[in-house]
Amino acid sequence: MPTVQDYTSVHRPTWCPGCGNYGIWNSLKAALVNQNYELHDVLIVSGIGCGSKLPDYTEANGLMTLHGRPLAVATGCHLANHDLKVVITHGDGDGYSMGGNHFLHTIRRNLDIVDIYQDNKVYGLTKGQYSPTSDKGYKSKTSLGGSIEEAVFPLAVALAAGATFVSRSFAGDTDQLTWLIEQALQHKGYAMIDVFQPCVSFNKINTYQWYQERVYKLQDDPNYDTSNLDLAFQKAREWGDRIPTGIFYQVQRPTYAEQVPTLGKGALVKQGLRNSVPESIKNEFV
């Protein structure tokens, strides 16, 4: 069984020292190890952005796609080989801005994949413009007087779109995050984890400390009911002095691949190419 070291590429991360992505990276590797995934059975698909460089540093199959498109690409990867465990890692700009449409539609397909958002509430790689999760009033090079758009509540949107596993964590709490990724890996269906990821270079508001003072864990309340959608929707909008993390909502529904007749025979690319097409098919046109 692989170790965290096995999952760590010799190619070292280029993230800024202290970047929240280190915590996410370590948690992901730990979760994959804890869940006994072999390196070659994992495919990490990302977009473009600081966080999306994660596959470059990880010794597993990696596919760094286009800004905003990892979910769409991952859909094809998963449908063509659902034996691979597909994990998506991408930024808030990538996932909720450029990729917003794929977010909506991938969710309602309930593909059996894990979708991790490196949510630093800023555009890191392009040097600090505000992002869709930046709070209203957030100042940046493109919102000098403070952003005048309401921030997206990604978990609320995921719930509305019909996600079967909706969760949030914080890169500063790798224990919780590792646990959550493990839960997501075990979930049959689309599992979303929005991770608060401090960006030490550009986001001077949502810092480690800022989060530490605010986050609390839903699962600390033994009575929290993860099957209650209305409750989850309320919690998804809770913002301010107290910000919940953990599993907001989880429900079981058939996955997409389970419902595709062709995939009943196993992963598509393992079925081999068909040998021949019968001549009789021509009669359809006669």
């Binding site: 769409a72 691979l84 598509l268 097409v277 006669v286």
Partner: protein, 582 residues
């Protein structure tokens, strides 16, 4: 009496069944052993608005449709107004008596009016008004003396799902109209259609021929977003998905359609993504992504008139240069522009192989006319046995088991092709990125590796160029004029040179390009140089192939014949224009 050589138009409002009647009659003719060539003219609306379906039928193979019409089946009065002038002397108009079409003006032009109480006959036979089109088919058969059994067999197939009763009523309706026409108009019509005893041919449109080619070529994944006229490639494969082990996915937009296709291709599927120009425009960014990560993916762009939404249901050939240069940066791609049904079938299969062999996107460029036009083709021309699946330098599990060194997905080789593995094997764990990368797929920024990796990719273009086929020369080897065209225009250009040469020996020949990019410079140049006068015939405003030829070979056209009104060429149009431009 002219037997088995005529053109029929069925015209009426969208929603009146023009399309299904036309397709049905084509099928009936083919079952009767005739060759058929059809052209559809549809408006972009669901009900109302004039649509028409042109069918040319012959016992001999047909190169193209032609303008003279012998018989018009008019489901509306408007149809008569629109098409009467196309009718030859002695031609006829079949229409519902209740339309009260005036006979006199027609008769003055030597055209017979065949009034048939289509709706009434339908009702009298136990059917309803909507079966008027079935009645029209019967009347058509009656007037052309075409055997009813073929009409019946088509009715049977079309209404199979609705049950015996409905089939029976339709039989009766058709027969009643047939009898009515025979009774009232006898055998007076100059053109007739006789069954010929040959192996039945397929009646297939360009889209279905491509889809079939892809299927035989090993395609097992398709994703798309509906866009006319590309959709039916996707719909056909979807219909056959469960039977042939295809994954078919309608996506939220064309961006995700191609991205999912690239993802599937990356992990080893054989992928086709059909669309039209607008959808292709949305795929442009991902096209470059496929080029960069060397993912084999096949795209079909069935062109329609642009710019932008343009005419949604009409035809044009104006995306050529766009397709060749689309996406930022430079990377190899292959562009095929089939023109005949057989070429469509072959392109579907070839594209599958080319994409995997060169690990790069392949685009099949067609247009609405070709996509929708049903034509007969001999079964033997759709030759499954000629198709072999070639995955190129593809490493199987067995190959990978033997690996002793770290697998390099982007190994820099002399040919430019890096042996390809798909994710999932313990010896071939690899990364891939749209950023510039080194041999093992890590992001790099050094100038040296950039130069070598970019050159490696671009070498594939030169390699593929060697495999690109020469243009086909039709007609005499030497002629006064050489028509130069690509894609669907082959049909009308081919008929045009045939007409010209029957008037005057060696008047014209035709040079037709299927393999367009990488442009087969060496193979094409002799043909082009050999031509006395070169006339580009293209369905666009700017003569795009002519531009491309000049850019690639320095050779100029002497003239151009262009058309961009959303309708296909006709041989007559080409001949007339040729007189003007030379």
């Amino acid at each position: 009496m002219v037997t088995n050589n005529m053109t029929i138009i069925i015209g009426g409002d969208a929603g009146q069944g023009v399309e299904s009647s036309g397709a049905g009659f084509c099928k009936a003719l083919a079952r009767g052993g005739l060759h058929v060539y059809s052209v559809q003219d549809n408006r972009s609306r669901i009900r109302g608005g004039h649509n028409f379906y042109t069918i040319r039928a012959q016992a001999d193979p047909i190169r193209s449709w032609t303008e003279p019409v012998h018989l018009l089946v008019a489901l509306t009065k408007e149809s008569v107004e629109i098409h009467a002038s196309k009718l030859v002397k002695g031609g006829a108009v079949i229409c519902d008596s209740s339309l009260k079409v005036e006979a006199e003006p027609l008769e003055q032009a030597g055209i017979k009016l065949i009034n048939v109480p289509l709706a009434q006959l339908a009702k009298d036979s136990g059917g309803s008004k909507v079966m008027s089109n079935t009645a029209a088919l019967g009347a058509l058969a009656g007037l052309t003396q075409f055997p009813m059994k073929y009409i019946q067999s088509v009715i049977h197939d079309n209404f199979k799902k609705k049950g015996e009763k409905i089939i029976d009523i339709n039989y009766k309706v058709a027969q009643a109209a047939y009898d009515y026409v025979v009774e009232h108009y006898g055998r007076s019509f100059e053109w007739n259609l006789q069954a010929v005893d040959v192996e039945p041919r397929m009646v297939i449109n360009g889209n279905h021929a491509i889809a079939l080619g892809a299927l035989v070529g090993g395609c097992n994944y398709t994703s798309a977003y509906p866009m006319t006229p590309g959709t039916s490639v996707f719909e056909w494969l979807t219909t056959h998905a469960d039977e042939y082990g295809i994954v078919s996915k309608q996506m939220e937009d064309e961006i995700s359609a191609i991205c999912a296709g690239i993802g599937a291709a990356h992990v080893g599927a054989r992928v086709i993504v059909p669309t039209s120009g607008g959808g292709f425009s949305l795929m442009v960014e991902a096209l470059g992504f496929a080029g960069m990560i060397e993912a084999p993916i096949v795209i079909v762009n069935a062109q329609r008139p642009g710019p932008s939404t343009g005419f949604a249901t009409r035809t044009e050939q104006s995306d050529l240069l766009f397709i060749i240069y689309a996406s930022q940066g430079e990377f190899p791609r292959i562009v095929l522009a089939p023109g005949t049904t057989k070429q469509c079938f072959e392109a579907g299969a070839r594209a599958m192989n080319l994409s995997e062999k060169y690990q790069t996107p392949v685009i099949i460029l067609t247009d609405a006319y070709l996509a929708n036009s049903f034509r007969t083709v001999n079964k033997s021309d759709i030759d499954f046995s000629s198709i072999t699946i070639d995955r190129g330098e593809f490493l199987t599990d067995a190959d990978l088991d033997k690996l002793t060194e770290k697998y390099k997905r982007y190994l820099i080789t002399e040919s430019g092709i890096s042996p390809r593995a798909i994710p999932g094997h313990p010896k071939a764990i690899f990364r891939t990125t749209s950023d510039e990368h080194n041999e093992i797929g890590e992001i790099v920024e050094e100038a040296d590796i950039r130069n070598r990796m970019h050159t490696k990719r671009m070498k594939k273009l030169e390699l593929a160029r060697q495999e690109m086929r020469a243009p086909d020369l039709y007609g005499p080897a030497q002629a006064d004029v050489t028509l130069v065209c690509w894609g669907s225009t082959i049909s009308e250009a081919h008929e045009a040179i045939h007409m010209l040469n029957s008037e005057k020996k060696d008047a014209a020949n035709l040079l037709h390009f299927v393999d367009i990019w990488p442009f087969p410079v060496e193979k094409a140049t002799p043909f082009l140089e050999n031509a006395k006068k070169r006339v580009a015939v293209e369905g666009n405003y700017t003569a795009q192939l002519a531009q491309l030829i000049r850019a690639e070979t320095g050779i100029n056209m002497d003239a151009t014949i262009l058309k961009f009104d959303g309708r296909p060429f006709s041989p007559e149009y080409i001949i007339n224009k040729l007189k003007e431009v030379l």
